[in-house]
């Protein structure tokens, strides 16, 4: 078995003049669970589309389990649950059990349909038509279709959008069991909490570039990791912005929050500036702020 599940080498993809993916290098090992994190338009879906062979790169190379994406799909090594917008993503008129049996029958080495239904929590729904299912049930059916192949690599594009909280939790529990079997999982999300909860490795995409790649804790450490908060009714935000290591200044009713890459230097600078202040507080930024700093970096410059 190849030591790499996925290798992207300098991959670009343009739509006309718009470069949705602007040079991505990425390597994924078996058993890894990776979150592709980024705002809408960052290039997440385009990247996943190229990994699945639905889109061809404008330049660069995508290798899935040592072969082309098309071949990997044809060999039944990849399963995917993609965004289906307002549609169900399922064939009208089909019954759940029938659909799973049909999909499994297309693969060379599928999971047994009964196993698929059980793992997706669909055993009791096998006789139902897909047209009348609820949002959470539909997502379980789409998940079932993704695992029919018994894939080495599972791809999910924003898998919990529109699900209620119990359904989200159920989804990630089921996925966790799959990851524990040594399958690689790549999912796109713009929910930070989801990336933090479900993935050990997070790749942050912004405007088609990878701007960070590592464990959630590293990402938090390497970027804007602290916030300095204080009250200073007379302070000029521009002066605060010029303090050492400050990335961003937020003001609200005379209270300021400074995002900083070096809280010590910022606080030292604040003392030396002789701006009167009170209620000084230094806190770790939540990943949410770290993420914002990462993805807005380009436009701030």
């Amino acid at each position: 078995m190849p030591t790499e599940v996925l290798a992207l080498h300098d991959v670009h993809r343009s739509y006309g003049a718009v470069e949705a993916v602007a040079g991505i290098d990425l390597h994924v090992a078996p058993g890894e669970t990776l979150a592709l994190l980024g705002p809408n338009g960052a290039g997440k879906s385009t990247t996943l589309g190229m990994i699945l062979g639905l889109l061809s790169p404008s330049s660069g190379q995508v290798t899935v389990l040592g072969r082309s994406p098309h071949q990997a799909v044809a060999d039944g090594l990849v399963g995917a649950l993609l965004q289906s917008g307002t549609g169900t993503g399922l064939p009208p008129g089909a019954r759940v059990g029938e659909l799973v049996r049909f999909m499994a029958s297309l693969y060379p080495k599928p999971l047994a349909p009964a196993t698929v239904l059980e793992r997706a929590g669909l055993t009791s729904l096998a006789g139902r038509r897909v047209d009348g299912l609820s949002g959470g049930e539909l997502q379980r059916v789409r998940f079932a279709l993704a695992i029919c192949a018994d894939p080495e690599l599972l791809i999910f594009d924003e898998p919990t959008v529109g699900l209620d909280v119990p359904s989200q939790r159920g989804f990630w529990q089921t996925v966790g069991a799959f990851a524990a079997e040594g399958r690689a999982i790549i999912f796109a999300t713009h929910y930070l909490a989801e990336a933090e909860e479900a993935a050990r490795r997070v790749v942050v995409l912004s405007k088609g570039h990878i701007v960070a790649d590592g464990p959630v804790s590293d990402i938090r450490r390497t970027v804007t990791t602290k916030q300095v908060r204080f009250r200073a009714p007379q302070a000029d935000p521009q002066v605060l912005q010029d303090l050492p290591a400050v990335q961003r200044v937020q003001a609200a009713d005379g209270a300021f929050t400074l995002d900083t890459t070096d809280a010590d230097a910022t606080v030292r600078g604040l003392y030396q500036s002789s701006i009167p202040f009170s209620d000084l507080e230094v806190a770790s930024a939540a990943l949410e702020e770290a993420f914002l700093a990462l993805t807005t970096e380009d436009s701030a410059r």
Binding site: T88, A94, P110
Partner: protein
């Protein structure tokens, strides 16, 4: 790693029959849209099979009676309409809702996908032609032999293949909201210009020449020749086959082409 998972051990056989069986099961569950497909040709046949205006055309050009000639026309109409409806209209919706893309992520080849869709559409055309023949036969009592009945139905069935292929191509190109109007327009133009509504002899000469390259006219010819006991014309089959092959290939190419949806 995955050795403990229960695999469904199964030799890898061709995938087309599985896809076709799946499609047919789904079609069989929704027979309601056949009613819409059949409504026009049935009603039109019942109100105009006894109309004497076209009798002369039928006699002079095909040596048969208008009720028989027109029954073949409307059988062909029903087959064309069913083939279009069963293929393209449903497909555009499946493409928009994401199901077509999910299928692209399986080992099902594009050739098996398009062929399966075409055959499923033609199966519905067979049912439509049969129902129409039953109703028209009961109303007009044309007194055809069993062999002639079978030959007419067979002609409509096989002749519906190019229309299923055209429908699938439209379904793969158009959006779910435009597919239906496009298909209705294409079907009406093909059916009327092909001589299924009014015999070609009522057309000016140049329009008759146009009709000769239309698949609807060739489909009609297959059946009209049967009921008139005229020799079978291989050119009819060649034209129909050319349309079927060309549009199936175009559809397979369209199915393989880049999925332009993911942009975010």
């Amino acid at each position: 790693m995955t050795a403990t998972i229960a695999h469904a051990a199964r030799p890898h056989r061709p995938l087309l029959p599985r896809f076709l069986a799946f499609e047919l099961r789904r079609l069989a569950r929704r027979p309601s849209f056949l009613i819409w497909t059949l409504a026009f040709p049935v009603v039109f046949y019942l109100v105009s099979y006894s109309n004497p205006t076209n009798e002369a055309h039928a006699r002079s050009s095909y040596g048969t009676t208008w009720p028989i000639f027109f029954m073949v026309s409307m059988c062909a109409w029903a087959a064309v309409s069913a083939a279009f409806n069963a293929s393209g209209g449903r497909l555009a919706a499946e493409r928009t809702n994401g199901w077509t893309r999910q299928l692209k992520l399986t080992p099902l080849p594009s050739s098996a996908y398009t062929t399966g869709k075409v055959l499923a559409g033609a199966s519905l055309a067979l049912v439509a032609a049969l129902v129409l023949a039953l109703i028209a036969g009961a109303a007009a009592r044309p007194g055809l032999s069993a062999g002639t009945w079978v030959a007419v139905i067979l002609a409509c069935w096989l002749g519906s293949l190019p229309f299923a292929a055209i429908g699938i191509f439209i379904g793969l190109v158009a959006s779910s909201s435009t597919a239906q109007p496009i298909m209705i327009a294409v079907m009406l133009v093909l059916n009327v210009l092909g001589g299924l509504l009014v015999p070609l002899q009522a057309f000016p000469a140049w329009l008759r020449d146009v009709a000769k390259v239309l698949p609807t006219n060739r489909l009609g010819n297959l059946g009209w020749n049967v009921v008139a006991h005229r020799p079978f014309n291989p050119v009819d089959v060649a034209v129909l086959a050319a349309y079927a092959v060309a549009f199936t290939a175009l559809a397979a190419w369209r199915y393989r082409a880049d999925d332009r949806r993911p942009i975010g």
